[in-house]
Symmetry: C2
Amino acid sequence: MQPVAILGIGQTKIDEQWEKSIRDLAVEAILAALKDAGRESAGGLFVGNMMSGIVNSQNNLAPLIADWAGLKGTEAIKVEAACASGSAAFRSGLMAVASGELESALVIGVEKMLDRHLHEITAALATAADADYEVDMGVSFVGLNAMIMRRYMYEYGWKHADFAPFAINAHANALHNPFARLHHKITVDDFEKSAMIATPINLLDASPIGDGAAAIYLVPVESVARGTRILVAGSASATDTIAIHDRPEALFLSAADKSAQEAYRQAGVKPDDIDLFELHDAFTIMSALSLEACGFAERGQGVRLGLDGEITLKGRIPVTTRGGLKARGHPVGATGVYQIVEVVQQLRGECGETQVPEARIGMAQNIGGSGATIVTHILKRE
Amino acid sequence: MQPVAILGIGQTKIDEQWEKSIRDLAVEAILAALKDAGRESAGGLFVGNMMSGIVNSQNNLAPLIADWAGLKGTEAIKVEAACASGSAAFRSGLMAVASGELESALVIGVEKMLDRHLHEITAALATAADADYEVDMGVSFVGLNAMIMRRYMYEYGWKHADFAPFAINAHANALHNPFARLHHKITVDDFEKSAMIATPINLLDASPIGDGAAAIYLVPVESVARGTRILVAGSASATDTIAIHDRPEALFLSAADKSAQEAYRQAGVKPDDIDLFELHDAFTIMSALSLEACGFAERGQGVRLGLDGEITLKGRIPVTTRGGLKARGHPVGATGVYQIVEVVQQLRGECGETQVPEARIGMAQNIGGSGATIVTHILKRE
């Protein structure tokens, strides 16, 4: 496999973007990434998106975006892996360049969710779970995560407030990210008093959806000068059962473990070598489980990293340095691309007040469903 | 790019499969392909599917199928490119193996369409067109193709009956394909008298939808002995505007031309070297346009190949040798995989009464939207 580098990145603000269509959002991010890369076209377009067919009545999204972005004729496909669609599209673009089949690839994650009523979005999000054996029983996607969180609290003895540091850290970091959806600080008191959604998950455990797009330009590594380049050092994807009740251990993200271990192996690194970790904090419980499965904490002890301050910018493993899903926002199929864009910003030293000092190796992990599809990437500056 | 071979194929009958769910259909094809390949697992699963989110309320389809097929933990993604989803998934699996990232790939195309009312399916199919600028004007997917066909007849002076050979040939060949949906012969008289759908497209111009799945097992070419292997000699994908009114020439499939020329170049062949062509006859007009764009006929003269008998098994370029979309059936996201499976059957000499004598080089072309995404593959026996 030929090594691949990231030449350019782009993103839109995540927000309620009433005045822009899904194609407008995608093109805004693409043009930013092309400008950043100093390119005008690409060998192929890989679109990460979860729900355009349901929410925007638009399948065949990839040629639509290629056309609108002025990339007419370019090969273009959409990759769907629920909330992991963005990183799965990134990995598809990566393999196209790594195979030598394409000389470059543009990856775009995009989601335009807010044109529908929220109950329709809740139904659309539930398509990430098992339609026949979970959703037909009446459980929503938040409900599934609530059951996992409740079980975790029961098994390991944590109380709800112990999860607060994940949300507080994300909001603190998002303050300095102009692309983030939420720009306000929160306290433990805010966290404990926020509205209940599905016990024990309340509003501040949960990430907000949003409209947004992020893009990345990939090229063979030899086309970028050493010293300034961001290398994709590890890339791996794994799956677990889609239904939580089919897993032998509901509190262990086996696909996170599997994909992280493979990414570590490819990159030749250990968890200790990772300078920052953009994890998939769709709900606070997912932050804990992700840290545990990737080897940053023992099982049941991910929460302690938050309580001990180890997930902040000065801690042992800074997470959600640009706000994470919690405060940057979670435009589902776009999120995985945002995460990788943010790791690139850190490795380039472009993060200002939320810069992780001397960041050289960063990791991004994107989760589709309640752990059914998990994609892990490790980037290195060299 | 490392050369890749097809080690195994599998398929289900295309039908109204009321007793089987989408996961059942997928697993049936996967188990057949694994058995044919003599393997029990795969390095990755690439799912081609267009409308599971809309029709089956199921996104995140890839881990669901991986789990159900006993491939637990395996990397798995879904690729969507409207009716070209199957071939796009095949090409993604191909690049994963060609890059050396995976040691094998299982490609599955699956669609379970008939659990919904037909007006819902018509709406779901329309998501392949431009939602904002075509569908919002009230045009259906058949309507778009009808406008193309009417214009073609006007420009080149053909009458409706001139398109009959495409449908007659497809039905004749499907008689001998046990996996085909339709098993009855038709005549020019039947063709002319069938029910009108959207003038000038009547029922026998149009392919039937259906429930079905097809699967292919891919490996690096060196792992298969020469003399018995089916090589993927050419693979290319291109796009055009999604809206027909944005094209300078509505009667020319530019993405078919572009992807076919690239596939010819990779394979080192010309149209004359192709022994059979599984083309995308969603409507009879698409057969004519595909033959023209791929260099088998001059513009406006694709219809003549049918009238002259050149598309039959003994003609210059046999098409739809197993029944095509018209009579084998068109389970939209699965179709592209069926086409490639059928080319493999021909190159292996397994087609009995519809065997193309001494077939050595076969082509498959899959179209998403009214020509927006077109993927062309050339296979060689060697």
